[in-house]
Symmetry: C2
Subunit: 337 residues, 2 copies
């Protein structure tokens, strides 16, 4: 791959991202310091098109990068654009006053949306290797009991169960019994401990199993790893052409499961760095035409993913820089915690 051809591709990508119009040979030499004639560029562009990095929307039009072109651009041509001072400051001040994990996640997602001017996604940190801190039972109704589980990272899980005609005294008894059985244990150990507990209790085993099963289910359940979204209005910043394709993206954004897999898969391939999925590389057809820039963040015991979704013709250098910076900063923030 010729050195100048790479220059040309880079120039085309940056110009196209800015103008969103096919870029021609003449405009290219004018806007960039390429010390050759348009004709030479034309030859290069023809080659790049043959190799699949560019396409022409129609004969006698300028070139547009293909997904493959963007991929090369991202892999080899990008000099990561450092954040501006204002942006750095925004990151630190934005998170400064965060109170709890909820607050951190919500602030982060809004921050990321604002920095990148795109749709931001932040997954809740999934607490691994936690221990159970407390079990609480609250009588909501003669027949309903709320079970609350608190772990050592401050995560709270809750579930309602149906327990006909219970008394406060009965709940008090269960609360003590459950707490003695699970406090300080990891979820899986707590599960075993509960199994043992249910075997010991012989009186009214049916009733006992209602409660124990519920707590057990909560222990083994996948910690609810929700994804928070912000910056959806930014989708309309990309002009009419993209707006007509907005529907599928909005649909994907409402599907938590899709988002989780999206982030998870992408980050899994690039552990420790920012992952980029461009257009067709994306496993979900409805996200053809969009790119994902994602990264893991957080300390190892509360690790999660975050990222940004936008059209393939996004400004990759800036976006990657922003995602990286936010991931690092939030990670440090969580670690200090």
């Amino acid at each position: 791959m010729d050195d100048r051809k790479l220059m040309v591709l880079r120039a085309i990508v940056t110009d196209y991202v800015q103008t969103r119009e096919p870029v021609g040979s003449k405009a290219l030499v004018e806007r960039h310091q390429l010390d050759v004639s348009p004709a030479t560029i034309r030859n290069d562009m023809a080659v790049l098109e043959d190799e699949g990095y560019l396409i022409q929307p129609h004969t006698s039009a300028g070139r547009i990068p293909t997904d493959k072109g963007y991929r090369l651009f991202v892999d080899r041509l990008t000099t990561i654009k450092p954040l501006s001072g204002a942006e750095r400051r925004a990151i630190t001040t934005f998170l400064a006053g965060a109170a709890d994990i909820d607050d951190i996640v919500h602030r982060t997602v809004r921050l990321l949306a604002q920095l990148t001017q795109q749709v931001a996604l932040v997954q809740y940190p999934a607490a691994r290797s936690t221990t159970i801190r407390h079990v609480e039972l609250v009588s909501l109704h003669p027949d309903r009991v709320l079970v609350i589980l608190i772990d050592s990272t401050g995560r709270i899980d809750q579930r309602t169960l149906i327990l006909p005609v219970h008394t406060d005294a009965e709940l008090d008894g269960w609360r003590d019994r459950l707490n003695r059985a699970v406090i300080g244990l990891t979820p899986s150990m707590a599960g075993e401990s509960l199994t043992k507990l249910s075997e010991e209790l012989v009186e009214d085993p049916a009733r006992a199993s209602i409660i124990i099963d519920a707590v057990h289910a909560m222990l083994v359940a996948d910690p609810s790893s929700a994804v928070v979204v912000a910056g959806v209005p930014n989708l309309t910043r990309y002009g009419a052409a993209y707006e007509t394709a907005i529907g599928p993206v909005l649909e994907a954004l409402e599907e938590q499961v899709v988002l989780l897999r999206l982030l998870g898969d992408a980050v899994a391939e690039h552990p420790g760095d920012v992952a980029v999925r461009i257009g067709q590389e994306n496993p979900y057809v409805s996200l053809r035409g969009t790119s994902l820039v994602a990264s893991g963040y957080g300390p190892s015991e509360a690790w999660a993913t975050l990222g940004v979704v936008g059209p393939t013709y996004m400004d990759y250098p800036s976006t990657i820089a922003a995602v990286r910076a936010v991931a690092r900063y939030v990670g440090r923030f969580l670690a200090e915690g």
Copy 2:
């Protein structure tokens, strides 16, 4: 207001909602059983236009309803369309397996979006007149403590506070003290009780006030009344014309505060029934062109609002019916629950 003119207005609204094209006199008499000639209808339409219920996009085009026209339609002409059997069944099955309040709210908002094919909003039930059930302190970190408040409706509120070098024993002591002070009290009474407690404690008052102030703040804080949104992709169902105006709506949907006021104001004016805000009636300029159909729901001690946002040319009879049905059903579900 002439009886037939009302018929004409109704016919124009229903036709326009279906076709989204200006409706003319001839098409109108053909599609509806109006036993008069097009000329007569023309006269009526001219009058209706004079009175501000209709407008013509241009001189020789059919009429479309104005906001005022929709208003009259909604106020006087609507025979609420009863839900189909399938829809009734959807409502009951959708909510059947709901576990906790979180689950109920999320299922409700998705249900509403699906039934109305529009953007649905559901506010979390704000527990009024509750009593405090439990206060829990969890040490997250040598310097950080998580405070958790549980009330009698099962609502959970949490906040992190900074408490340098604390021990488990110290937290245990505080937990007992706090619980003795607030359990069973309403938030305002609990607040007073805490004030008294802080006066009694003389040893290390600075440290005491860190904890007590935090709990106090949580008690008086407006119960975090979040709004959950679903069905955003439905905004694209309304054709290209509406899609260009989608931006402002998306922005409003990201602003929790705006949504809360929107729902709250609308419902406040029509307590106990479905409220409709049409286009310009809406206080937020960015929601010009959209209508809101909202209703309160839930038992009095856990009352909240829900609703639907869509273009002014929505199908009001069906939407109103759906909102009403869902509000009633979820209300009953919460009351039983």
